[in-house]
């Protein structure tokens, strides 16, 4: 269970509060106007921003003292998810061992995950030789390898076309099912939320509201969401 216990996040005069929790295996869309603090909320879980007060807990344990890499979390950023000077296999291998001293079994694992996401035979390529969709799949492949129980998506597919994005979301769903992970996905698109997430967190006016049923939320949107949807 991922729990936000009276969390207050503060950055340069900006303030965001969250006080709710997500059960294991939950899939949540995080929606709201630009600058409302969607990425900030994810940063607090990933460990890039310490709460001013309150705690983020995983299964009752405070994540506060843990470094980003030690948390039970995988995060996909908007961009820079791969190191451009490393090959695809190396970028994926980092998910198994950060020092890349992989065993034969682990190398096999990288190969099979590449195959699984449709990048078979591309392990020796560098990110500059890949399309946006392929980069997205590679990042998800690494999430599969890391198999952390929390998966945070900070709009990694924002630049992709609808068909590719739908394909990515299907892949995310597979990854989530495989790893049993809690998924928090920042999105601008209500369709993404409806298609992917049973629940939605609305971030607006300094508050990350408790998750609500996505369909119900969009059927009867509160004022803040109505303003955003236009």
């Amino acid at each position: 269970m991922l729990q936000f216990d009276k969390v207050v996040l503060a950055v340069d005069g900006f303030r965001l509060t969250a006080d709710w929790s997500l059960p294991a295996g939950a899939r949540v869309a995080v929606i709201g106007p630009s600058g409302a603090g969607k990425s900030t909320l994810l940063s607090a879980v990933a460990g890039f921003l310490a709460p001013q007060s309150g705690q983020v807990l995983w299964h009752g344990a405070d994540l506060g003292p843990m470094d980003p890499g030690a948390r039970p979390v995988t995060i996909l950023f908007q961009d820079q998810n791969l190191f451009p000077h490393l090959t695809l296999s190396q970028n994926l291998g980092l998910g198994l061992r950060p020092d890349l001293r992989l065993s034969a079994g682990q190398i096999q694992q990288v190969e099979s995950v590449l195959d699984r996401v449709g990048l078979a035979g591309m392990g020796t390529r560098k990110p500059a030789q890949l399309s946006g969709g392929q980069i997205g799949r590679a990042a998800l492949a690494r999430a599969l390898l890391r198999a952390r129980p929390v998966l945070l998506l900070d709009e990694p597919f924002a630049a992709l076309g609808p068909a590719l994005k739908a394909e990515m979301l299907t892949l995310v769903a597979e990854v989530a099912k495989d790893t049993g992970a809690v998924v928090m996905m920042v999105t601008h698109d209500p369709q993404d939320a409806l298609a992917f997430a049973g629940q939605t967190v609305l971030v607006a006016n300094g508050v990350a509201h408790p998750p609500q049923d996505t369909a119900a939320l969009f059927a009867n949107p509160p004022q803040a969401l109505r303003d955003y949807l236009g």
Binding site: I75, D79, H85, P127
Partner: protein
Amino acid sequence: MARRAVAITAAAVAAWVATLVLLPLAAVLWRAGAWPALAQGDGQALWFTLWQALLSAALSCLLAVPVARALARRQFLGRGALITLMGAPFLLPTIVAVMGLIAVFGRSGLINQGLAGLGLAPLSVYGAPGVILAHVFLNLPLAVRMCLQGWQAIPAERFRLAQSLGFAPAQVSRHLERPMLRAVLPGAFAVIFVLCLTSFAVALTLGGGPKATTVELAIYQAVRFDFDLGRAAMLSGVQVALCALVAAVVWHAVATPGFGAGLGRAPLLRVRGVRLMLADTLAIGGAALFLLLPLAAIGLRGLPGLSDLPPAVWQGASRSVAVALASTALTVPAALILALAVTKSGRGAGLMDAVALLPLASSGLVLGTGLFLLVQPFAAPSTLALPVTVAVNVALSLPFVYRLLVPEARIMQADYGRLSASLDLRGLAWLRLVALPRLARPLGFGAGVSAALSMGDLGVIALFASDQSATLPLVVQRLMAAYRLETAAGAALILVGLSFGLFWAFDTWGRRHAAI
């Protein structure tokens, strides 16, 4: 734990550098006893030092921008070779560089022969104009290289975006180039300013007299001719205070440019128009002539002397190579550790930056004199000539390597810091997989600079060396003093070849391993 280990290592390096710089200074001051009063000429020397350094640094930076921009956006045959050669004057042993400038701008040099042919009065390369000319000659290439690295660090995607938005050159300049220059130029200006504050061989050979004596030259005269350590210490104190001030100002002026990371594709900047083409041609051609003519002159003068070199030249050469490699092996890791610590941690970063630049505030002769005093009670200074030279060379080249690394390390941290942290990539694995590949280009260049500076250094060694421990620059200087000019020119050519060879080897390594 790992983070603490990094912090402790960095603190240890910083403490070591501070000790290396401050202990000799303390020794000189302690020996001097009391603060003596300013001598008559010292105020004038201070004034000359300041304005010539300001003017030299400003001219170098001002001229570097159009040259670097032209090199960044033009592709032509021999571009790579020209960029490598652009590094030459800065890496040239100063005494050899001055020889080249005199050959071109001197009384019987190329320029004055041309003027005489036109029936015009000859120009003098001596005095204040000569000192500034030499400083620009020696430092313009450094400024060009620093700017060019800045240009190359702008991701190609930004240039593509600019093109797709139909930016005119003025808009490219405003949105891409000026933010980068704002980050690069203050550092370049500060380094060159401090370099000119403490440069001494140029003032010794082209300056002199009450109107063109620098503080550094005054220190040399106080130590060498008067053995007045008190006055030397007082003058050093003035210089240290000046340079500390510059370092403090620069720390606040240098900003990280807010560029995202590119995917490492080759820079792609196309500009059209005859006017810009003409301007770029003029910038590249003018700089190439100004920088390469003196180098060519050195080559022509030295060749005849090569046939008959005494064994002392070859012995000096092997000592110099050993000294250069040892200093490089110590300088580069120290600079890397300090640069990474300053980039990664907020706390103590200002102090570490100041420590890394601290050696610039000192001078070879002050450090050498101080170390001489420290060593003397325990051993004959001549037996420690080479280790002391290595120590001083490390101290004096550290700031350059550090300055080259910091902007690139900042960009690396901004682009890949969070990704590395989220993957738990840290410690030695992070160093091997992220930091070294991403910083290979500035590391290679920095190692080259360090090796060449160390190779050509003539300062401390003169205080310490016996015949058995003379380095090549000292051998050249002794040959010149003995008026064996042809042999001196030949030995100077060997010195130049070795300096450039070492630089080329390291720089090529860096470029070959640069992360793509």
